[in-house]
């Protein structure tokens, strides 16, 4: 039996229950127009995915290297105040990343172990579903959950909808917090953001376009001892390295029961 996505289920049952062609067509339209193309399960042509080896990422140098590479690649502002901190890839304690995997008898060393987290580029992303302007959408050709900073109205509904805390809002102009070199230039040509928009990890869509791996993946692989801490690849390609790992090792994703279908996997 083919597993039906929640969206398809909603579409069909709502159409049937209403028994109204107009009601049904509104819902169908809802599902096909949103996100500039449907974003339900199986609607993308391929899907980029990441596997994080939590053991290899235990090494602080590995985590530092990938977080630093991301900050430089995307001109992420460095804001220390947790109320306004902008995070693309960062670390959290195991017990908070995998709340459903924690029980009272786990030692603190496990509960508090640092784990790298980032946007999961979900198969069924709630942020995309709720965005009122299609400023965030799931890209059909590669499954990346994209952000259009030009269109975002800053309503922050996506932040309420994301079960992973993967989205950050620019409470003020971020430019003054972005690193510059001696000449006053930013580290990267990647546009900074304006105040009042939401941002998050984009799986380095701008690098993928040029045939490069995401900055964090490249950084850990260049680090002695960090090779393989992050693996990136295409889920629709049976020969990809991510598929090889997923079929041969025990991996988990965050909060499976919610049905969002995360595409960042963890070897624990």
């Amino acid at each position: 039996m083919e597993k039906k996505s929640r969206r398809t289920f909603l579409k069909e049952t709502a159409g049937a229950a209403l028994g109204l062609s107009c009601g049904g067509s509104i819902l169908t339209a809802a599902c096909t127009t949103s996100g500039e193309g449907s974003h339900g399960e199986g609607s993308v042509e391929s899907q980029w995915a990441m596997v994080i080896d939590t053991e290899k990422a235990r090494n602080p140098a590995v985590r530092e290297a990938c977080m630093e590479a991301c900050v430089r690649e995307h001109n992420v502002p460095r804001i220390d105040d947790p109320a306004e901190k902008i995070d693309w890839i960062w670390e959290e304690e195991y017990q908070h990343v995998f709340p459903d995997q924690v029980h009272d008898h786990l030692p603190d060393s496990v509960k508090e172990a640092p784990v790298l987290v980032l946007c999961n580029h979900c198969t069924n992303p709630p942020c995309v579903r709720v965005c009122p302007t299609q400023a965030t959408w799931k890209r059909e050709e590669d499954g990346i959950v994209m952000m259009d900073m030009h269109r975002c109205i800053g309503c922050r509904y996506c932040m309420a909808a994301c079960p992973y805390g993967s989205r950050s809002f620019n409470w003020r102009d971020p430019r003054q917090f972005v690193d510059t070199d001696a000449q006053g230039n930013f580290h990267s040509e990647y546009p900074t953001r304006t105040r009042g928009v939401v941002e998050k990890c984009n799986f380095c869509a701008e690098r993928l376009r040029d045939g490069l791996a995401p900055a964090c993946v490249e950084a850990v692989n260049q680090l002695p001892g960090g090779e393989g801490a992050l693996t990136f690849g295409d889920l629709s390609d049976p020969a990809s390295e991510v598929n090889r790992i997923l079929s041969s090792q025990r991996t988990i994703t965050r909060r499976v029961a919610l049905g969002t279908g995360p595409n960042v996997f963890y070897i624990v």
């Binding site: 809802a30 949103s34 996100g35 306004e84 709720v130 302007t133 109205i153 309420a160 003020r172």
Partner: protein, 386 residues
């Protein structure tokens, strides 16, 4: 008819002056927020919605509650509401305007507001909420203007308005339902993800909205020659009593489900609200105040002698409004963000700028309400004199 808004006694102009001053304070505060960003608010990466969205939610209820006078009057031909209906519609119009303004002031990029219409996303409840609210505003403006004009000319309203009025009844229910769906459709937030949220919203709306209407009617009775009628006010008090009872029941149902099942995700938000979580207890005094007010007001309302005493009804209605404002406007929105998806508890309290903007928006709404009611009262007083 409209010229009545430009003529009035000293008290009328002082009242308008107060609204204008408060609006200017709000505008000034919003100007600061616009230039510096939402950093001037108390919101954060963890609690991303605060007092603005909370007021929006509360006021959608006030707007929807106009149906509590429209329905008995037009569907059941309940004549006593004859002079009350236009007050309800006026309240609905100004409440919807305030709702829209609260959404607007909450936006990070307010200059892009038209994107909601230019790039509509039919799967977003926020899109449907803007459609529902916009439609409700238009419906009430048309109905209010047409029926009042007919009444002024002492003739029957045109026949085509009846279906429009009928349409406004389910539409009123829809605005608050869609507003509840904004929250209850989010798998990320267990506190909001409950099927009873929409019924609960409606119940609390039908308690707080008519309470506000009673207060306004009592004010008009006291300060003008226009009397919306004792029977109408007392009937509204009965409606408030029923709605508040149902709301208490719904909240109880929700609390039972969370506490009896004892599932951590469901318990945490209630813990945060009523006893504090991980040492964070910013909302605890608020929630107990709200709960106490609810119990006192409900007890008084359930006593017919007290409920029918118009002198006591005013303070009781103020209490009901305060209790629901705390439940919906303070607790409901903020607690959804606690703890955040990564288990962190972050307190929220509005800043001075946020409070000033909020007061400014309310002042705009109440200024509109003042103008609408002034026109209504003037016409009615003239008809009485004739």
């Amino acid at each position: 008819m409209l010229e009545a808004a430009f003529r009035g006694g000293k008290r009328y102009w002082i009242l308008l002056g107060v609204w204008v001053v408060l609006i200017l304070v709000g505008l000034f505060a919003w100007g600061r927020q616009f230039t510096e960003g939402l950093t001037v608010t108390g919101m954060s990466q963890d609690v991303t919605w605060g007092i603005y969205i909370a007021q929006f939610t509360f006021l959608v209820g006030v707007a929807a509650s106009a149906v509590m006078v429209v329905l008995p009057y037009y569907l059941h031909d309940y004549k006593a509401f004859g002079r009350m209906v236009i007050l309800g519609e006026g309240l609905a119009v100004s409440a919807v305007i305030m709702c829209m303004l609260f959404i607007f002031v909450d936006m990070g990029q307010p200059t892009r507001v038209t994107n909601v219409l230019l790039h509509p996303s039919l799967s977003s409840m926020m899109f449907w909420d803007s459609v529902a609210l916009g439609g409700y505003l238009v419906l009430n403006l048309i109905i209010g203007a047409v029926t009042f004009d007919a009444e002024r000319k002492e003739g029957p309203p045109p026949a085509w308005i009846k279906p429009v009025i009928i349409l406004s009844i389910p539409w009123a229910v829809s605005i608050h339902t869609v507003t509840a769906f904004l929250y209850s459709g989010l798998e990320a937030r267990s506190f909001w993800m409950t099927a009873i949220l929409a019924p609960r919203f409606l119940a609390s709306a039908f308690a707080s909205g008519p309470s506000l209407l009673i207060l306004l009617a009592l004010i008009l009775r006291g300060f003008t020659k226009f009397d919306p009628g004792k029977e109408a006010i007392q009937k509204l008090a009965v409606i408030v009593t029923y709605a508040l009872t149902v709301n208490v029941f719904f909240v109880g149902v929700e609390v039972f489900t969370a506490l009896y099942s004892d599932m951590p995700h469901h318990v945490h938000a209630f813990q945060y609200l009523f006893v504090g979580l991980h040492g964070h207890d910013a909302l605890v005094p608020w929630m107990w105040t709200g709960a106490t007010l609810t119990v006192i007001c409900l007890t008084l309302l359930l006593t017919p002698k007290v409920r029918n005493n118009l002198k006591l009804l005013g303070p009781i209605c103020a209490g009901v409004i305060a209790a629901i404002w705390i439940e919906k406007g303070v607790g409901m929105v903020v607690a959804g963000f606690v703890p955040n998806p990564l288990g962190r508890v972050t307190d929220y309290s509005p800043t001075g700028v946020e409070v000033a903007v909020t007061v400014g928006v309310y002042a705009i709404g109440f200024m509109m309400l003042t103008l609408i009611y002034k026109i209504v009262v003037n016409v009615r007083e003239r008809m009485l004199a004739a």
